[in-house]
Every structure is written in structure tokens, then in C-alpha cells.
Symmetry: C2
């Protein structure tokens, strides 16, 4: 890995959690020499200037991409087509055009028609995030040890793919290449279905006649609060994900429903062995994720616990049975 | 709050995550003067002695409860009846008998018949835990700011309830009293259903033909890894929860399935407004949980991020557009 910037001029369209983190990471790692950012609203552009993570803030998307060597579009996937149309005339020959959307098939379909000859279009998806959104939510370390998936379309020139790979590696990510279709299937199970389930159960809990909202909140440490974190993710982004990855999500949902029916039947019939066997299997998957460094082994995600109130000085305990 | 111990002699049957945390917390806070612990296996008893969180370790449950002022049974709820039968003859008149089970209706049904006259039977459930189990998993701060629910049966003497309340408050918990039936309904939605859903989806992800297990693990940061934490909880404990709170779980599951069907229909029909409205509502619930101190506002549960590799010294960025 060299210390020279991978990218001379980086243009970021959209500077929310992901775009803003790319800016901070590219700056901190030296992956880009100059960073140009833009956002739709004047308030956000003002905030980008205050946060200082870009060298230049432009009024329009078209202006931002002028002379850029790498353009990364970080907006809800539903807006991909219109933005591609808007920036296309200003893209420099030889530039790389990429994105960060959670769906890749629809991004290829919606953006490709506008990409000028001589521009390398390489859709991407860094599998990383938090429940927060907006330009203040980003941070430079977001992509460290996370995976960024590249889904180049057929005929993409290899050196352009290697440049984009080098950029993501420089800001800490691991890179894997796959087809857009396979990406959408993988993410349907590792991200989209979990979000849909979380959004559902949090809604269910909020509309029960027999259990009050206050009780749901108070006793949420029993497991429910974990689901509320991802159900607090950006509504626009997630609306677009489900609208644009409909087929894969519905397919995974079908399998999930079958599995839920099986466990429901085991509960109804009192089949303790079936439940135990299932629960013992899933425990092993957690270990797998921790072992490959995709989550921490610290209990409870490392949530902090306040100290005991008024704890006296710990006194040694004399054991009186040995 | 006084510094005098609330309980003179505390007996703990079962010293896993919860029992072991009670022991450590009672010791650190001075809530109990003497702690007697026991466990079924010789290995666990040996480990309790090594960890040193009890003054005395007995071979049998019956022996542990002799002369105890408070007995807390911390075992999978399916074993509640047999253990109550085993310890009943040795319970001291005036003693409080309690437990920590995640289901209360079945515990009342299974333990009550064995409780001798003069013993105060007050089932309890501290809504706290981690995905780990065993005597090494406990820690003194587990109950701080968490809720402990007491479900005294009709006719329980108030002073006994107040003593048990004082004990839990001394080790950091908030206490609420409700009926066993209402407890089982509340926990079905805030704990049991979330666990069932997590166990299901983690199993689903593990058995897909089109997406490999390796891909599921690598790209789990998209949301899936959150579910694997609670799907790593103790299989025996959770088998018993579902077998003993069957009715309430099946009822909540019915409502969840209806809600999932509604969101599925919105996806199938491309109804973006319905999706957006739902997702915006659930975001507010997360804020409610954070506002009452039942989870942290730190993004991503406060998961730690490794620093960027080889980050050069941050250089000031001259903004060239203002």
C-alpha cells in the first residue's frame, strides 16, 4: 500500500452517514487528494462546510462531478436514475462512477442508460452503517474490517475495478466482487429481511391493546430493544430498498415464513427437542461471526453498565466451607 | 437506603448468568450478609469456589436452603417444580422463596403446591441478561437500571414483598409488581417473540441453497449479526420459556404474522407510502427506549471500530471554496 492518494479528485453526491463517512475516511487515510461534496439542501451544504470534511462544496450535482476522477453517489437508491441523468454530461472521460446503494440490480438498470462511453461504471455497496443518518452521523472508521461489494457490469475494464478496490481498501474495507443479482440475494438475507422483521415486530409491539407502550419500553431489555436499533434506520433509504429489491426479499420472506411455521408448530405441540436442536444450531452461527471478526465477543455488544449504587468498599469474603 | 444487609442468609439455587450475577451484586452492595450457593454438577460447584462469590457452597439444593432467609431459584423454568419439591422440607418458616424465571404463570403453577405454610413465595423476573451463560458469565452490575418484576400470588404478606423489593433495589434494579398472567403477556412481546424471530431468521440464513454460510457470516454487518446475538442465548432456558409460555407467545405471534403480511403486501404492491409511514413510526419507539434509559444513544450499541490502517497524521484541509 502506497501513501500516494489513490484518487486525485473525489466527488461525493450525498453526504449522509455513508457519504460523510467516505469523506472523513478518504481524508484521514489520504485516499483522495481533493474532495468535492454536494447535497440537495442548502442547510446540508452549510453543515458540510462547518464540518469541514470536503475541500469544496458545490451547489449542484452536475458541478460537483466536473473533472472528478471518482464519483460516488450516496443517496437512496430510488434517486439513482435521475441523478445519473443529471451528472452524465459533466462526467470526465476515464472517470469512475460508483455508488453505495444497498440494492445493485436496480442501480445497474437505472443508472447504466445514462453512463457516457469512456466512463467506468462500477456499482458498489459497503456493508456497514449505524442507525443514524445525516452529515453529522458519519465517522472515518465506519468501513474498517467491513466488506465492500463491487458489482461491475460485463465489459468493465479491470484497471478501473482495481482502482476502486484500492480506494476502498485504503479506507479500511475488504473488497469482494460479485454479480448484481447475487449481491441482491445475499443482502436480502443478511440485511433486508432482518430490517423488515425488525420494522414489523417494533410496529407490532407498539399497537397492542393488552400491553401498554410504556411497558414495552420499560421491559425492552428482554431482547426487544435490540430490534429497535435497526428499526430506527432511515425510512427513505429503507423504503427504496424494499421497493427495489422486491423479488429477492419476497423469496427470502417465503423461506423465513416456512421456518417460522415449523418453530410455531414445535411450540404448539410442546416438542422440546425440536426447539432445543434449533437453538443449539443458531448459537454456533454467532460464534462464526465473532470468529471472522464481523462482531465482537464482548457480551451484549459491549453495552455499558452503570456501577452499583452506593457500593461499599469490596471486602474479602472468608469462605467458611473449605 | 441503609447500609445494613437486607438479607441475613441468601441461598442461591443455580449460579449461571443470573444466579451468579445476583451473588456478585449482593456481595458488592452488601445486600446479603452470607451467601450460600449450590449447583447440580460438581464442576460448577468447584468453579463457584474458585470464583469466590459465595461464602459457602453446598452439595445439594436441600442443604443450601437450610436457615436461609431468602432463597432464589435461578434455573430453567422447566425444573421449577422438582426443585421446589426437593427444597420444601428444609425451608425455614418466615423465609422468602423466589425465582428469576422468564415465565411466571407456570412457575406459580409448578412451585406453589410445594411451598410450606409460613414461607412467603414471591416469584420474580429480573429483565436483564446477556447472550452468555454459566457461572463465569455473571457480573455485579447486570441489574443496574434494569427492571425486576415481582408477581406475588394472592394473600402474600406485604412486608415480605417489601423485603424482596428492597433486596432488588439494593442491587440496582427498579421494581414493579404485576400479576403472573400480565407478566407473561408483556414478556411475550418484549422478550419471547423477539427471541423466536431471531432464532428463526438465523436458522433460515443457515440453510439457504443460493447463499453460502460464508457469505452470510461475511456480510452480516448489514443487520443480521444483531439477531445472532440473542439467537446465541442458552438453548435449554429458551426451550423451557417457549414450552411454558405457549399461549401468550402464540397470541403475539398471530399479531406479528398479520403485521408482517401487511408489510409484505406493501412491498409486493410497491406501496412506498405505507412502508415509509411504518418505518417513520418505529423510529420514534427507539427514541422512547433511549429516553427512559433502557438503551444507550451511542450508535450501533457502542460497538467499537478499529482505527484506519496506516492513517497519516491528519493535515488541516484548506477549503478552497470560501
Amino acid at each position: 500500500m502506497t501513501d500516494a492518494p489513490i484518487i486525485n479528485r473525489l466527488a461525493l453526491i450525498g453526504t449522509g452517514l455513508i457519504g460523510g463517512s467516505i469523506a472523513r475516511a478518504a481524508r484521514a487515510s489520504g485516499a483522495a487528494k481533493t474532495i468535492v461534496a454536494t447535497a440537495r439542501s442548502p442547510e446540508t451544504r452549510k453543515r458540510i462546510r462547518e464540518l469541514g470534511f470536503a475541500n469544496q462544496v458545490t451547489e449542484t450535482n452536475a458541478e460537483a462531478v466536473r473533472d472528478a476522477d471518482l464519483v460516488i453517489v450516496s443517496i437512496p437508491v430510488g434517486a439513482s436514475g435521475p441523478v445519473a441523468k443529471e451528472i452524465a454530461p459533466n462526467l470526465k472521460p476515464g472517470a469512475i462512477l460508483s455508488d453505495v446503494g444497498s440494492v445493485k440490480g436496480s442501480v445497474v438498470r437505472d443508472m447504466s442508460p445514462f453512463v457516457p462511453a469512456g466512463v467506468h461504471f462500477i456499482p458498489a455497496h459497503p456493508v456497514a452503517g449505524t442507525e443514524n443518518s445525516g452529515p453529522d452521523a458519519g465517522f472515518a472508521e465506519l468501513f474498517v474490517n467491513r466488506w465492500c461489494i463491487l458489482t461491475p457490469v460485463q465489459g468493465t475494464e479491470e484497471p478501473a475495478v482495481e482502482t476502486l478496490r484500492a480506494f476502498w481498501e485504503k479506507i479500511g474495507a475488504n473488497v469482494q466482487v460479485m454479480t448484481p443479482e447475487h449481491h441482491d440475494l445475499v443482502l436480502a438475507i443478511t440485511s433486508h429481511l432482518p430490517h423488515l422483521i425488525a420494522y414489523t415486530i417494533v410496529g407490532t409491539a407498539n399497537e397492542l391493546g393488552e400491553v401498554t407502550e410504556s411497558e414495552v419500553l420499560k421491559f425492552s431489555a428482554g431482547g426487544f430493544r435490540d430490534f429497535t436499533r435497526i428499526a430506527a434506520s432511515d425510512p427513505t433509504m429503507w423504503r427504496d430498498v424494499f421497493l427495489h429489491n422486491k423479488d429477492a426479499v419476497l423469496e427470502m420472506l417465503g423461506t423465513f415464513n416456512e421456518d417460522l411455521s415449523k418453530l410455531t408448530r414445535a411450540i404448539r405441540r410442546g416438542d422440546g427437542n425440536a426447539l432445543f436442536d434449533h437453538f443449539a444450531r443458531t448459537r454456533a452461527i454467532r460464534r462464526g461471526i465473532v470468529n471472522i471478526g464481523q462482531d465482537s465477543a464482548v457480551p451484549d455488544f459491549g453495552r455499558q453498565h452503570a456501577p452499583l449504587p452506593m457500593a461499599p468498599i469490596a471486602r474479602p469474603y472468608a469462605s467458611d466451607d473449605d
